[in-house]
Symmetry: C2
Subunit: 224 residues, 2 copies
């Protein structure tokens, strides 16, 4: 009898075979728990997440997640940090391209829609520990990429103008993701988030012009 066979998980089995044991040490419990938690958040929402449900999904004892992460906050913190890493990777790829701002905006939206489990946790300091060094580093890295892209995309030299543009662009893409995920956007936009986001980008041009028309002269940005 090979060790392979012995170590395989065979929970459903009830035959004459002596109860096969899965290895006592999981080997990669951390990843398994995070994956289980993300899957659970995607199917039931972050509010419903319980340590016991994570354990059930990962096939370990109910005390294992708390043992490994210290508690629910620890799980959320790990998810958020990993999420910012994934986001930075996606958006960073576009840096330098001539249409980097638009491409980054679409990358942000695609990330949020494809990874709602991560996305939902990343912006919720009430769930995770925002001061965790690993999380803070990952978040800062993602922000740097975003700011740099907005800076070159909008030709904003003035730091205040850059910040305002970054907040505006971020609000727009973030709001789009949130409304999309919660099913609030009109159904006519279709089911492809990238196509819908492109439509919204077209709309953004009209909104920018209307804003310019409606802001009083002294409220308008001075430069450019």
């Amino acid at each position: 009898m090979s060790t392979e066979l012995v170590n395989v998980k065979m929970f459903g089995q009830t035959g004459a075979v002596p109860t096969p044991t899965r290895p006592y040490h999981h080997g990669n419990l951390r990843s398994a728990l995070i994956a289980a938690a993300v899957a659970e958040i995607e199917s039931a929402g972050a509010a419903r997440l319980s340590l016991r449900e994570i354990a059930r999904r990962a096939g370990v004892s109910h005390a294992a997640p708390a043992h490994h992460f210290g508690g629910k906050t620890g799980v959320f913190t790990a998810i958020a940090a990993e999420g910012f890493g994934l986001l930075a990777e996606r958006t960073g790829r576009r840096a330098g391209q001539p249409d980097a701002l638009l491409a980054t905006a679409l990358a942000y939206i695609e990330f949020g829609v494809e990874h709602r489990g991560y996305f939902e946790v990343m912006w919720r300091p009430d769930l995770h520990d925002a001061s965790d060094p690993g999380l803070a580093a990952a978040r800062d890295r993602a922000f740097e990429i975003f700011y740099a892209t907005v800076g070159t995309g909008t030709d904003s030299a003035d730091p205040d103008a850059l910040r305002d543009a970054a907040v505006a662009a971020w609000s727009a893409v973030h709001g789009f993701v949130v409304l999309w995920l919660s099913g609030n956007l009109p159904a006519e936009l279709g089911r492809d988030p990238a196509a819908a986001a492109l439509s919204a980008a077209r709309g953004m041009i009209a909104v920018g012009r209307a804003t310019e028309r409606q802001l009083s002269p002294e409220e308008l940005p001075s430069s450019e």
Copy 2:
């Protein structure tokens, strides 16, 4: 002994005074429960809301909320409907003004920030019953006002262009509120949401221009 005195709530009392009874029928339990629920959501988040906590805040028996609203979904549905009513009232006030789009955007943001308890529930069909007739009517009314304002503000005659502009404007204000409420926006924006939103509006002009520059000619909106 006046009825006033008899009816007053005196829970802490243990003296010789005969136990004063508060009226068996509350009189306005519905409003009291909604107010209690909104207050609880604002202090602890919608995820933590329990029927028992609502009852505690309202000073009624723990079974009263379920008795009145049928269950937690009923409470959330009532909150959402009332929230859309409040939003429509606020944004509707600005219709017709020359700067209606900007004013409506600011009104949306102020509403979201001031009434986070309502705001959080309104966009969560997983919490409330979106098909409830009262809720649907209130929501449609609020949407009509928003669409009309965006239509006149952006001069969008084409229905598709109007929809795109509405989605873009909505994403922007909605994203701003969500990021503001979750504490994710940079601290330099200050503590006054209206001032911060005005800054973001300035940034929106630059973002609109950058979007126009980066969209390829065939992706650009044809009219205007």
